[in-house]
Each structure stands twice: as C-alpha cells, then as structure tokens.
C-alpha cells in the first residue's frame, strides 16, 4: 500500500513548476525594474511606491467599497431566502436549490451581458418606466449597475452556503427553545443565527473574493471609464504592458484579500467563543 505514496511525486514536480514558480514570478516582477525580470535583475520598491498615488488609492478604496456593499447586500437578500428554502418540504428544497444553481452554469459573461439590454437608456426597464409615465433613469455605467451585476452573479453562492448550514441544523434545538418559552424572534436570534454563522462566513468568502477582483462586470456594466482594481491590473498587463507595476498591484490585492479572510475567520472564532461563554453562563 505504501508504494502508492510515490504517485504524489510527479504531482509535486508539476505543482512546483506550474503553481509555485508563477507565484514567485509575480513577486519577482513586483520587486524588480522594467523589462524581463529574469534578464535584468534589479531590485526596486518603485512599483509599490507608484501605487501610493491618490488616483490608484482611490481605485483600491472604490473596489473595496463596491465589494463590501455587494457582500452585505448578498447577506441581506440571501439569508432570508436560504431560511425560507430550508423550511420547505424536502422535495421543494431540492427543486428550489436546482432552480437557484441552474443560472450559475451559464457563462458568467453571457449572464452579465444580458443585463445590458435591460438597463440601457432605451432598455427594457426604461421602456416599462415610460409606459407608466415615469421619467427614464440612467442606469447603465453607474455604481448601481455594477453592484447589481455583482449581486446577480454572486448571490447564488451566498444562498447555497447559508442554506447548507441551515438545512443541517438540528430541529430539536428549535423545538426545545420554543418549549422553554422563547418567542420565534428570540429563537432565531439566539439559536438559529449563531449556529448558521459558519454558512454566512463561507458565503462572505465566496462573494467578497470574486467581487473585489472581477474586471468583467465593471467593464460590461460600468463602462470603459469605470475602474476597479481588477481593471487596473488588466490594463497594466493587456493595454499598457507595464508588467512590473501590474504584478505589484496584484500582490497588494492578494495581501488585502488574504488579510480580510483571516480577519473574517478570526471574528467568527471570537464570536463563537463568546457564544459558548454565554452558553456556559446559561447553564
């Protein structure tokens, strides 16, 4: 049996070449000067200093703002829906989850593109407004359009990850809480919500990470002038050709994302610690 352990060796080689080396290359490019980093190997911090320009810092904050609002909206909309689904019959649950996951199988670009004809100036929504005698509203190329596109694309992840936890919740706890005299709101706040936090946390990870790094949604629904950090990176690599600066931005983004993930996990752990302390007092 132990002989099979050697099957891992080729994959270690593969991983080193195709996962580790590319990551190291990004770091190398970020810390070196112009040109091919492997040829002209000159250490510099200029790429990072350049980022501390108000223009770029603004882009960074804008990306974080949009991603945070999107994540919060996904929790506010997704939680009740996950909750409602988890309380239906088993057959309905299967059907509803299938209906919610189905759009996720359709190409993300196509789904985002579909919104253009709905939101555009002479689009479907504005035609409806016009029909009711309302003034047309400019929706394309606004923050609203970009966030709508993000919520549309990432909401299923939030619903599914909260639903998975809620569906596994022990119903006996809820009955016990009712029997002990708690009203439905108290039961929800003190039993269901704390126990479903792991689902919310993994949902946050699944929404925030793609929301902060996407460049397709802002490009389609925000227009060519709409800049988020993903667009900035795309521009540096595809249009401008400043690979060193682009690598530095990616590194900054990766660090911020990892930092926020660790922070989220820590908040979750602290929260469950206090919850268990409270529980201890209760008994």
């Amino acid at each position: 049996m132990k002989g099979y352990a050697s099957l891992v060796k080729p994959y270690i080689l593969w991983m080193s070449l195709f996962i580790v080396v590319p990551m190291l290359l990004i770091v190398l490019y970020a810390f070196t000067e112009h040109g091919n980093a492997l040829m002209a190997f000159r250490f510099t911090l200029d790429n990072f200093m350049r980022f501390f320009d108000p223009v770029f810092i603004k882009v960074l904050f804008k990306s974080l703002e949009v991603a945070i609002i999107t994540t919060v909206l996904c929790i506010i909309i997704g939680y009740p829906i996950a909750y409602i689904i988890s309380n239906t019959s088993e057959r309905t649950q299967t059907l509803l989850i299938l209906l919610i996951t189905l759009p996720m199988w359709i190409n993300m670009l196509v789904r985002t593109y579909a919104w253009i004809s709905i939101l555009s100036d002479g689009g479907i929504l504005n035609s409806i407004f016009e029909f009711f005698g309302l003034a047309p509203i400019k929706m394309m190329y606004t923050d609203f359009a970009v966030m709508l596109g993000m919520v549309y694309n990432f909401l299923p992840f939030m619903i599914i990850s909260i639903y998975t936890v809620l569906a596994k919740l022990d119903r006996a706890l809820i009955h016990a809480s009712h029997d002990l005299g708690a009203n439905p709101i108290q039961t929800f706040l003190r039993i269901v919500l704390p126990l479903s936090m792991p689902g919310v946390i993994s949902g946050i990870t699944l929404v925030f990470l793609p929301a902060v790094s996407t460049f397709v949604i802002p490009k389609f629904l925000g227009g060519g002038q709409y800049m988020l950090i993903g667009n900035l990176i795309e521009n540096q690599f595809i249009t401008v050709g400043e690979w060193n600066f682009g690598s530095a931005i990616s590194l900054i983004m990766a660090v911020i994302i990892m930092g926020s993930m660790i922070l989220t996990r820590k908040i979750d752990r602290d929260a469950s610690d206090t919850a268990s302390v409270e529980g201890g007092k209760l008994w």
């Binding site: 352990a5 195709f18 290359l25 990004i26 409602i84 759009p103 196509v110 579909a114 709905i118």
Partner: protein
C-alpha cells in the same frame, strides 16, 4: 390559520421575486435572439436570422470547437492526473500531505486574475508563444486541484485492507489500483471530472491572459464582441442555455426515474 396563510404568501412572493431576478435577464436574452431586427430592446417580429448568422460565422464556430476541445482534453488529463495524485497524497506521510494540499489550494483560494498573470509571466519567461497549447495547459493546471479535492474524501473512507488483500492475493499494484481502488472512488472521480469540465467550459479570466494568436474560446469571443452589440451572442447563449438545462434536468431527475423503476420492479 389566516395568519399562517398570509405568512406563506409572503414567503411565496419573496421566492418568486428572487427567481424572476435570476431568470428574467436570461429569458430576455433568449427572446431577443429571435428578434427580426438588430435591436435588443424592441421587438419587431420573429426570425431565425441570428441563428443562421451564428452558423455562418466562422469565428464563432471555431470558438465553439476550441472551447469543447479544450474542455474535453483538459478534463481527461486533469482527472487522470488528479486521481493519481490524490491516491499518492492519501498514502503519504502527514507532513507531505499537508504541504501538498496547501500548495494545491493556492489556485482555488487565489483570485483568478492572480493565477492568470502568474501563468502569463511563466509562459513569457520560458519564451513559450501563447496560443492553443498554452490555453490547454492552463486549463489542466487550474482544474487538477479541484479533482484532487473531490477524490480525496472518497479515499479517506476507503478501507486500506481491501487493497492490501488484493495485493496479498497476487494482484500487481497496477491491477489493485485499477480493479480495486479506482472502482471504489468512482463517484469522487466523476464529480471531480464534472467540476473540471464546467470550470474549463466557462473559464474567461485565465484563458484571456494566456491565449494569443487569435485563439479564442466562447468567453473571450463574448468579451471582445460585447462592444458591438450583436444578437448572434444571444443566439449562441440560447443554444448553450437549452443544452445546459437539458443536461442538468437529466442528471438531477435521473435518480428519481431510476428509483421509480426499481420500485416498480419490486
């Protein structure tokens, strides 16, 4: 009782609301693929001209072939490699196991754009010209970790004595692998392959950064065409939506149908 009914009514409305939010854009996309004019917002009559235009558009047909070829080949390679690697990982010492798994998680946890530029920098450092092969290799690279993650739980549940018994009874390690281990982890392999296929089929970000020389998959084509709005994209999307819906319905209803048949047979 009235209160309860009112409650259910609200729930029903919320569910209908969210489902229409998910489906209305897709529906409007499909409807306007049959529009007689170029407009994506005003209906001027039924026509199949955009479907005809789609099948006459050589660039689109090439993109479709490229997408399917890359998805099939990369799924096959990633599934074989991922399964073998997973078996190796499960039998390795703890330290190696943890080390390999944490590196393996990198492409899954990293934003796609970071994986994409990493590979782009790798190709350019090795002086490899970007094209079909670089795209294929990239797809194998990013989908293998998912195969490993879906095969590993199956292996954990596997009784090591069974493979041991096969070896004691005179099977060669290869025979034991193929005839004993693989059949027992097949569900994990299949779900890994499905994930790999859809990841490859839908990928945009990584393909966009690592392909060149006019090699385009469907996503890249949609991205480059979106600037000049064109209902052929709607026609293509409608075909994709219909195929995906049929496949998903069959996959999801299959257990029900077979269960029913078994029941009837009983």
């Amino acid at each position: 009782m009235v209160g309860l009914k009112k409650h259910n009514f609200t729930k029903f409305f919320i569910l209908i609301g969210v489902l229409s939010f998910f489906y209305l854009p897709i529906l409007s996309l499909m409807i306007f693929s049959f529009n007689d004019s170029r407009s994506l917002t005003s209906w001027s009559g039924f026509s199949l001209q955009w479907y005809q235009a789609l099948f006459e558009n050589r660039e689109m047909m090439t993109a479709i072939t490229t997408t399917i070829t890359i998805a099939l080949v990369s799924t096959f390679v990633a599934t074989v490699m991922g399964t073998l690697a997973a078996i190796g990982i499960s039998k390795s010492r703890r330290l190696i196991k943890e080390l390999v798994l944490s590196v393996n998680n990198f492409p899954i946890l990293n934003p796609e754009i970071v994986t994409a530029i990493g590979l782009m920098l790798l190709y350019s450092s090795l002086n490899i010209e970007k094209g079909f092969m670089t795209m294929l290799l990239a797809h194998i690279i990013f989908s293998t970790p998912y195969v490993i993650l879906s095969v590993l739980p199956r292996l954990r549940r596997l009784d090591p004595d069974i493979a041991e018994a096969a070896l004691d009874l005179g099977a060669t390690p290869l025979q034991a692998l193929w005839k004993v281990i693989v059949p027992m982890i097949t569900p994990g392999i299949i779900s890994g392959a499905l994930i790999a296929f859809t990841m490859s089929f839908d990928d945009f970000v990584i393909s966009y950064f690592v392909s060149g020389n006019g090699v385009k998959n469907i996503s890249i084509l949609v991205y480059t065409m979106s600037k000049r709005i064109n209902p052929t994209i709607n026609a293509l999307s409608t075909i994709l939506v219909v195929i995906i819906t049929i496949v998903l319905l069959v996959v999801n209803l299959y257990p029900y149908i077979t269960k029913k048949e078994i029941k009837e047979a009983e």
